[in-house]
């Protein structure tokens, strides 16, 4: 590890860092390197990796990205629009080349479709494919038509030439709302319609934009997806249960629960488990990074609403919002000790009498035994206080 860092550092020193002045959306060199190092920190990488991320982000040929939208609500895009480090314009104008995105394209209609076809052809095997929304599969996928074509076909076609595929949002990752019962369109997640392909899933409704940005930058920097869990979610973001890092966790452990909205416990900021919080069975880094870049505590549980488990298949949009979560770590006992429980019992007269009696007996017997020692008196000693 150490040698790797050293190598990176040497590489940095060879690099012309002043060249980054104004490299990205008019950022100064300092601002830009700050930002890249911040991204490295978000990913849990060494700070020297920031330089490599900077390199990747300023590469003259920006990697092309094709963003396809299936059965979605544009919430994921809305979420991305509210990222400030970097802002979306920095991302799409300076870091990647967003060649196709229905909501953000400058062009429209045939023009946009033609540009997508051209970009895919030119960059075959090199572009990053991002999909949001779930894919309807019933009746040949006719329930989501884009440019006269079922999105199912478009996605399959694009996936063939993609260097990497990212499914953003719960719909793309595991089906989301469209796949909830009764699932009239037989909606499926992206990975389900692309057998044999690795789809990096960024679930969430909407997902935290920084989980997406960090994953994309990782892809750009290292040319491979970050470490993934069994559901192909990046471990750096979805490796832990919300419950594990929740700021209300101490209340859970101590048995202090809000029992209904607006009750005393809810106003005090107690644990929301008993009003249906799914934090104990949902994997995400929400408590650690929050939303909206306005500081700590700004996320659903932080503002007093139970987590509804959007990132977890079988929890979000499946379980009733106010039903109890299945606690994966350990369940709280049904009864907690009351806070004013007695803290042990102190001295009682009888106990002191017993101790004093025993001590007196021992001292007395010992004294009697000693009195006769070293003399020639061989009279038997009655004491049996030996052991």
């Amino acid at each position: 590890m150490k040698s790797v860092e050293r190598q990176d550092l040497e590489e940095c020193l060879l690099h012309d860092l002043d060249g980054y002045q104004g490299a990205l959306g008019g950022l100064t060199r300092r601002e830009f390197l700050n930002y890249c190092t911040g991204v490295a920190a978000t990913l849990g990488l060494s700070s020297t990796m920031g330089i490599r991320i900077a390199e990747a982000a300023t590469a003259p040929v920006r990697p092309p990205v094709i963003w396809l939208s299936a059965q979605e609500c544009t919430g994921c895009t809305e979420s991305l629009l509210r990222a400030y480090h970097p802002s979306l314009e920095t991302l799409i104008l300076d870091m990647i080349s967003l060649d196709y995105h229905e909501a953000l394209c400058a062009g429209a209609g045939h023009q946009a479709e033609a540009y997508r076809a051209k970009s895919m052809k030119e960059n075959w095997g090199k572009f990053i494919l991002v999909v949001d929304g779930s894919i309807p599969t019933k009746d040949g996928g006719i329930y989501c038509m884009v440019a006269d074509k079922p999105i199912l076909e478009t996605v399959r076609e694009a996936a063939e030439g993609a260097a990497a595929i990212v499914g953003i949002g719960s719909c793309a990752s595991w089906g989301g709302i469209p796949s909830s019962s009764p699932n009239p369109t037989d909606a499926k997640p992206v990975h389900a319609v692309l057998p044999g392909k690795t789809v990096v899933n960024i679930p969430g409704c909407p997902p935290n934009p920084y989980n997406f940005l960090a994953t994309v930058l990782y892809l750009l920097t290292f040319g491979k997806p970050p470490e993934l869990d069994t559901k192909n979610r990046p471990k750096f973001a979805y490796g832990r249960l919300i419950h594990e890092n929740c700021e209300r966790r101490p209340h859970f452990d101590a048995g202090r629960f809000a029992l209904e909205f607006g009750d005393l416990g809810h106003r005090q900021g107690f644990c929301l488990y008993k009003i249906g919080c799914k934090g104990p069975e949902t994997h995400a880094n929400c408590p650690a990074i929050g939303f909206g870049d306005v500081g700590q505590g700004v996320w659903p549980i932080g503002i007093g609403h139970p987590c509804f488990g959007c990132t977890e298949e079988g929890v979000g949009f499946t379980k009733p919002v106010h039903s109890l979560a299945k606690v994966q770590t350990f369940a709280p006992p049904t009864a907690f000790p009351s806070v004013d429980a007695t803290k042990g019992q102190g001295v009682s007269t009888a106990a002191v009498a017993v101790i004093a009696g025993a001590a007196g007996l021992a001292v007395g017997a010992g004294g009697m035994a000693m009195r006769r020692m070293d003399g020639k008196a061989e009279s038997p000693d009655k004491s049996g206080e030996g052991s």
């Binding site: 042990g344 102190g346 035994a369 038997p380």
Partner: protein, 394 residues
């Protein structure tokens, strides 16, 4: 081995002292029955803050130290090959047998869910990082080893019919041949769990007063167990030889005292050295409860060292006895202090044993004495002398 004539003392079993002690045993039995019928809370003051009460601190931690007579003597006789001390071996072993067996019983009373205790023996449940697990297994093993070590004394006295029926002579021959294995285990196991009793306190961390807490706790516990083992041998042989007019082991005890003084001096050096190095010695003079306890304890430890430092002191039966009593009091206080009195779990928890809790502990000690007397009267434990074919018959 065989040239030492061990013989039973004989005599009446139900003497007056035994009957008085028996009353205490009956009282203890009553409270033990209540504990099993109504639960721990009915008789004990133990709490979540103080889960280790007087049953652990006295019956187990102090009790097994008193039971270390067998260990200490085995170390001396077999490992350091001081065969001259052999006559003291069997009585020391007997006190070990009872000290440990009753400690085991005390644990079964103390465990909240004693019916789960058998899981200790299930290898797939073993938690090898647990100090308490080590203590539990090791003590169980040692109780077994102690009874095996002591068993020749029982088998010697078996009626011939029984001996033949159960092939006892074969077992005896086997034991005679392989006794060294059990003696080896009998030295190894106490070394392990007596130091582990100190490691248990290491786990307590800041709950334990800095005057007691040191990284050397395991070693201090081992040394104090050894010294208490010798202390018990000194005390017992003095009392028993006086009470039953047996030949005095004075010469042996005087030289043993030298060993005791040396071990105690080592204990004090390590204890004070660690406190000095840790910079906590000033707490001893703080004048508060714990500081004073520490001073009393240290004085009790120092007394036997001084008493036994001179040949004159070692030769005097009275001073030897006084030293042994001081030593046992010091060792007991050290153990009770570090397990209960010097412990502060915080959050306002308090503990003082309840009267029924204490009665169970006292009853256990009384039972131990009764059984000791019973065994030395009926089994060949003590050494007789040629001109005194029998002990006191009363």
């Amino acid at each position: 081995m065989s040239e030492i004539a061990h013989r039973p003392l004989g005599g009446r079993i139900l003497t007056k002292p035994v009957m008085i002690l028996g009353i205490f045993v009956l009282i203890a039995l009553y409270f033990i029955a209540r504990r099993f019928l109504f639960g721990l809370g009915d008789v004990s003051h133990m709490s979540n803050g103080f889960p280790l009460g007087v049953w652990v601190a006295v019956d187990v931690v102090v009790g097994t130290a008193f039971g270390c007579g067998g260990y200490a003597m085995a170390l001396l006789v077999y490992i350091f090959n001081r065969n001259t001390y052999h006559p003291l071996m069997r009585p020391a072993l007997l006190s070990g047998v009872f000290g440990y067996t009753l400690a085991g019983m005390a644990v079964m009373i103390d465990l909240g869910r004693y019916w789960n205790a058998f899981n200790l023996l299930m290898p797939w449940y073993a938690q090898l990082n647990s100090v308490i697990f080590e203590v539990a297994l090791c003590v169980m093993a040692y109780i077994t080893v102690l009874w095996i070590e002591f068993s020749p004394a029982i088998m010697e006295r078996m009626p011939p019919s029984l001996r033949q029926r159960y092939n006892v002579d074969k077992v005896r021959a086997f034991l005679k041949r392989y006794m060294y294995v059990f003696i080896g285990l009998g030295v190894l196991l106490p070394s392990m769990h007596q130091s582990s009793l100190g490691s248990v306190l290491l786990v307590m961390g800041s709950k334990l007063s800095p005057l007691w807490y040191t990284n050397w706790l395991p070693l201090l516990y081992l040394i104090s167990a050894l010294s208490m083992g010798y202390g018990v041998v000194l005390l017992e042989s003095t009392l028993v030889s006086r009470a039953y007019r047996l030949p005095s082991e004075s010469a042996l005890l005087a030289s043993l005292s030298k060993v005791v003084a040396g071990i105690l001096a080592l204990f004090l050096i390590i204890r004070f050295g660690a406190l000095l190095a840790g910079g906590h010695l000033d707490l001893a003079l703080a004048g508060d409860f714990r500081g004073n306890l520490f001073l009393i304890e240290s004085a009790l430890f120092l007394a036997p060292v001084l008493l036994l430092a001179t040949p004159a002191g070692r030769a005097s039966q009275r001073l030897r006895f006084l030293a042994a009593v001081c030593l046992l009091a010091a060792g007991s206080l050290y153990r009770i202090d570090s397990y209960i009195m010097a412990v502060n779990p915080g959050n306002g928890w308090v503990y003082f044993p309840s009267a029924p809790e204490l009665m169970i502990t006292i009853g256990m000690v009384c039972l131990e004495i009764i059984l000791y007397l019973l065994f030395i009267k009926t089994l060949p434990v003590l050494r007789g002398s040629a001109n005194q074919p029998q002990g006191r018959l009363s």
